[in-house]
């Protein structure tokens, strides 16, 4: 059974697709989510093999969700949309397939063949995706969207990933790896990313370690391993 996740902001659309997938029988629908943020959590937790993804969704759309998934977890993606506003042909190359709502059973069966074939080739496809423009963060019971250029540093702890900016610290579901590859933030430590534009000075310590002082006075550790790459990115 292929483990599938449905992401669509409309209840009936989710239910309809779930019923169809179950009827065909090749899938185990491990969940259905109403928005990208919910989906992100489930993807990290459940690691689905296939994602049926609506494009038009509140706050973060389907494309944005794609760019926030860790490449190591990237499922095969089938876009499901009501109308061809996004010039889907262009995305056909970049994702596995796309379906137009209302989904026809025959068309869905074709997609399933594609999915099966793709799964034999690779578990985690490599989709081209644009950079992240807004980092979704949770703050109290609100969703906050922070632009990467506003971020000073990102810190990974046991409790999760924290984005630190001028307005404080916020928790995010995104991983350091995703943020490193899809934004201009630079890795300086196993647990830290830093915004190069926010660096005030880099203090070199003994043992090949370092310390970054940000413009607002925050201190970010630099590990031996990343000092060199940091120097390279700063062209020092």
């Amino acid at each position: 059974m292929i483990r599938a996740l449905i992401v669509d902001d409309e209840l009936h659309a989710r239910e309809e697709l779930q019923i169809m997938l179950q009827e065909i029988g090749a899938f185990e629908v491990i969940g259905s989510c109403a928005n990208a943020l919910e989906a992100l959590k489930v993807i990290y937790r459940e690691r689905p093999e296939v994602l049926f993804l609506d494009i038009q969704m509140p706050v973060l759309n389907g494309f944005e969700l794609l760019s926030m998934i860790d490449p190591d977890l990237m499922p095969h993606v089938v876009f499901v949309t009501a109308y061809d506003t996004y010039a889907l042909k262009a995305f056909e190359e970049k994702t596995l397939d796309y379906l137009l709502k209302p989904v026809e059973k025959k068309r869905l069966e074709k997609t399933i063949e594609k999915v099966l074939r793709a799964l034999q080739e690779t578990a985690h496809p490599l989709y081209e995706s644009p950079g992240i423009r807004r980092i979704p963060c949770v703050f109290a019971n609100r969703i906050k969207l922070i632009a990467p250029q506003e971020v000073e540093l990102v810190r990974s702890e046991l409790s999760g990933v924290h984005v630190v900016g001028p307005k404080g610290e916020f928790f995010t579901d995104l991983t350091l790896r995703v943020l490193e590859t899809r934004t201009d933030l630079v890795r300086c430590h196993k647990q830290y990313l830093v915004n190069l534009d926010q660096i005030d000075e880099i203090v070199l310590l003994e043992n090949g370690l370092g310390e970054i002082h940000t413009k607002s006075g925050r201190v970010v550790p630099v590990s031996r391993r990343y000092l060199k790459t940091l120097r390279d990115s700063l062209k020092l």
Binding site: D9, E10, H12, E15, N35, V59, A82, Y83, P102
Partner: protein, 559 residues
């Protein structure tokens, strides 16, 4: 005494000539308010001729001539000023001088002086701001009287021998003074009457032209409807009093009113060659009934004998004609000819204006269609997807949703009217919201607060639905929390205000992309209900957007 009567007799001949003059085209300059140099030259010749005639008609007495020469000079002065008066007086005087006699010189001089005297009276009147008295018979009488008295003195002073001059003056003074004064007064009164007649005539003409203009403007301001040509023809027929009036387009008769309407029927193709020529050559065709006759192509016994065909132009292209007819037994009045051409010019202007208005409305209508066309496919897709999904679980509900969908599309198709009641609009919105609620389920809540006394209010069609659609499409659908749309209608400060509020507060971020639909609704309200009404938007980012639509308290009136 005999001389007095002789002079009066002579004066009468003179007045007959004056009367004829007042009827001739040469009189025209005197009807204007001010005299141009060209006209003054004309008047110089006319009054000089009068003056010389006055001498010729005179009676020889004691080697002198008792005459009415002074009338021409004095009047030229009073009417035309010192220069004209002196010039006419000098001419008349010079002519008298050439005839000889012992008063030749003194009479020559005195006539010139009399002209100048008349001119000074003219100057005096103008300076005192009493120039309307130039044509007063009383002034003319007094002036001529004094001028003649002056002449007598000049004769006494200049003519030799003095005894002869004294004897002459003794005989001619009173008769000449009275005859010339009375002549001048009567002459002026003839001129004045004629002038008044011209003025009155002009006033009547202006009044009629203005009346036609007013009535047609009123009619055309309501737009060009199928019955407009008929009403126009009726107005022109009534106001001009011509035998018949027709209005045509390029091919057929649109309206015909008056004599011959039994066989000149609206809807007939154009039968008259005159009309076809007017359209072809884009010019006014006039068959005066004498040199060129109007002959009816439809019926031998048609009573119409003369016609004026004026093309109606739109951007200098003939779009139709207006035709004025007179019956065979009646002359086509020049007045009506001018009036007819004027009306056609006026109508051409009006046509241009109403076409502009029409195009403006068409533009708004087609923009509205465009919006609907833009919205509908997306809405339709979403609705069908929802219904397809609901169908599997709840056929009764799916059926209900399909009925609402059909209601929406039926109304979109059917409602070509500009205005609808608030109740009808709300019904349209209710169906729309039913479908959107099914799509979003508990993500969308709608709260209504409608003053029930407002349900009959007339507002432009498709006012509410686009705004609510905006609130959902650009507001509610973009937030993660439950979306609430509040729809309220109430009276407020002598207006009716309908508000649509959502709890997304996204208008401020992306107001630009909502512009088109909303602007159009606003434009339509302003166009149909008045400039003071329409849409205003307030917003707190991330919290709420409120669209307030203001209407007149009594609703919008159909135009």
């Amino acid at each position: 005494m005999k001389l007095f009567f002789a002079l009066l007799q002579q004066m009468s001949v003179f007045l007959v000539i004056a009367y004829l003059f007042s009827k001739s085209p040469a009189f025209r300059p005197l009807t204007g308010e001010t005299l141009r140099p060209k006209h003054k030259v004309l008047l110089y010749f006319i009054f000089s001729a009068f003056s010389i005639l006055g001498t010729y008609f005179g009676l020889p007495i004691n080697d002198a001539i008792a005459n009415t020469r002074a009338i021409g000079a004095v009047l030229a002065g009073i009417i035309g000023g010192p220069l004209l008066g002196t010039a006419v007086g000098f001419t008349g005087g010079l002519h008298r001088y050439t005839l000889g006699g012992f008063t030749a010189f003194s009479c020559g001089v005195s006539t010139t002086v009399e002209g100048l005297f008349g001119g000074l009276v003219h100057l005096y009147l103008v300076r005192k701001g009493r120039s309307e008295q130039v044509f007063s018979p009383g002034i003319a009488f007094a002036t001529a009287f004094c001028a003649e008295a002056l002449q007598m003195i000049i004769i006494l002073v200049l003519s030799r021998p003095f005894a002869n001059a004294m004897a002459l003056v003794d005989v001619i003074a009173l008769p000449m003074m009275f005859a010339n004064s009375a002549g001048a007064a009567l002459f002026v009164s003839i001129i004045r009457d004629q002038k008044n007649m011209y003025d009155k005539f002009g006033a009547i003409f202006s009044a009629r032209a203005l009346k036609v203009a007013e009535r047609t403007l009123g009619l055309l301001s309501k737009g060009f409807a199928p019955e407009t040509p008929d009403e126009l023809a009726k107005i022109i027929h009534q106001e001009t009093g011509v035998g018949a009036v027709a209005i045509t387009d390029r091919e057929k008769v649109l309206a015909f009113v008056g004599n011959g309407s039994d066989h000149h029927r609206p809807g007939n193709p154009i039968s008259s060659e005159l009309t076809r020529r007017a359209i072809r050559e884009n010019k006014v065709i006039y068959a005066d009934g004498v040199r060129e006759r109007f002959t009816c192509a439809l019926k031998d016994k048609c009573g119409l004998g003369s016609a004026l065909v004026v093309p109606l132009r739109l951007d200098n292209e003939v779009v139709g004609t207006i035709k004025l007819y007179e019956p065979k037994h009646k002359l086509f009045l020049n007045l009506n000819r001018t009036l007819g051409e004027g009306i056609a010019g006026l109508l051409s202007e009006q046509l241009l204006r109403s076409r502009y208005e029409e195009q403006k409305n068409l533009l708004i209508k087609s923009e509205l269609k465009l919006i609907q066309a833009q919205i509908n496919p997306h809405f339709l897709f979403n609705a069908i997807n929802t219904i397809v999904a609901v169908l599997r679980k709840d056929t009764e509900r799916a059926r209900d949703l399909l009925l609402h969908l059909s209601n929406i599309f039926r109304k979109n198709l059917k409602r070509s009217e500009d205005l609808a009641t608030l109740e009808e609009e709300l019904d349209h919105v209710r169906s729309y919201l039913k479908i959107e609620r099914a799509r979003f389920e508990d993500r969308l809540v709608v709260e209504r607060d409608i003053d029930p006394t407002l349900l009959g209010l007339k507002i432009p069609t498709f006012t509410l639905q686009p705004i609510i659609e905006n609130a959902i499409k650009h507001g509610i659908s973009g937030i993660l929390e439950q979306g609430v749309v509040k729809l309220a209608a109430r009276r407020e400060n002598n207006r009716v205000v309908i508000t649509i509020e959502d709890n997304a507060g996204t208008y401020c971020n992306e107001g630009a992309c909502e512009g088109l639909g909303m602007n159009l609704v606003d434009k339509r309200i302003k166009n149909l209900c008045g400039e003071r009404f329409g849409i205003s938007v307030t917003c707190t980012p991330q919290e709420w957007t409120r669209i307030a639509i203001a209407f007149p308290a009594e609703g919008c009136q159909p135009s």
